[in-house]
Symmetry: C2
Subunit: 139 residues, 2 copies
DNA sequence: TTGCGTGCAAAGGTTTTGCATGGCA
DNA sequence: TGCCATGCAAAACCTTTGCACGCAA
């Protein structure tokens, strides 16, 4: 279930469970390792397992505006996150899941008119969320 | 012209010129340094100059799907790239500049309906370009 | 001449890799 | 038991920083 790899291990289950529990967030490898502190999961294992889960399509990797480190998110092929776009506030870091027919139309339009097949599983739209705008412009 | 910094230096001119010459591409710091090889431009200077140009609004920084390194692109505040979206093929790396009223509509829609202000200067739509699709699915 | 900008090298942070050991099947 | 997965530490990589020197104004 956790993937088609040969063995199921305690560590892989823990990592996958942690990702599922936090499926609405973008997590760094550091945060995952930190969240599993005390449960004997090495950081290399976190990276290796994430690579595995990405290859198997259970996890997506994003590169966030800050740049330093990659972010990961649980998003199985048949899950809800397959079908929608992600908006990321670069001020507060909040992540929004938007199911929007406009975006679907754009996807179709870009495909028909410009010959480009957008992959929404790899795309994040950056901007500023309502709360941050209300709180005053970020500097 | 190259920015409001105190001094204009040979290195800064070279870097800016290289960025302008390649304005349709996403360049890594490495590629910029490489492109100026033999012209006595240190890599630290590339990074420092890019930071400066970003702060001054002449250059944008992107974080690309491959992940390892950041990409930079010349895009002055009054330039053409201000007004449109970028499509990046994650198979061949090609970058497309798309001016599309659909995208503007989506931007407006997301803003009105979802309260989120998309910043197209930070957003890149990932997918597969026509040539790569025609050449057969990437693996 | 002044002091910012540069280059080199070292430091800092993230991710990958090598190798012996542990644990799943 | 066989062999994949793990953990540690070292390596690899990108980016930033410290410091003395060079160069623009």
């Amino acid at each position: 279930m956790a993937g088609s790899s040969r063995y199921n291990t305690r560590q892989r289950d823990l990592i996958l469970e942690f990702l599922q529990t936090n499926k609405s967030r973008h997590l760094t490898a550091e945060e995952i390792a930190e969240g599993l502190r005390g449960q004997r999961v090495g950081k290399s294992t976190v990276y290796r397992t994430l690579d595995l889960l990405i290859r198997e399509g259970f996890v997506r990797r994003f590169f966030i505006e800050d740049g330093a480190s990659a972010c990961f998110q649980y998003a199985p092929p048949d899950g809800a996150c397959k079908m929608h776009y992600h908006l990321k506030c670069y001020n507060c870091g909040a992540l929004f899941h938007v199911e929007c027919e406009f975006l679907d139309q754009v996807e179709a339009h870009i495909f028909e008119r410009h010959g480009f097949q957008i992959d929404n599983s790899k795309t994040v739209l950056y901007g500023v969320c309502q709360d941050c705008r209300n709180a005053g412009k970020p500097d």
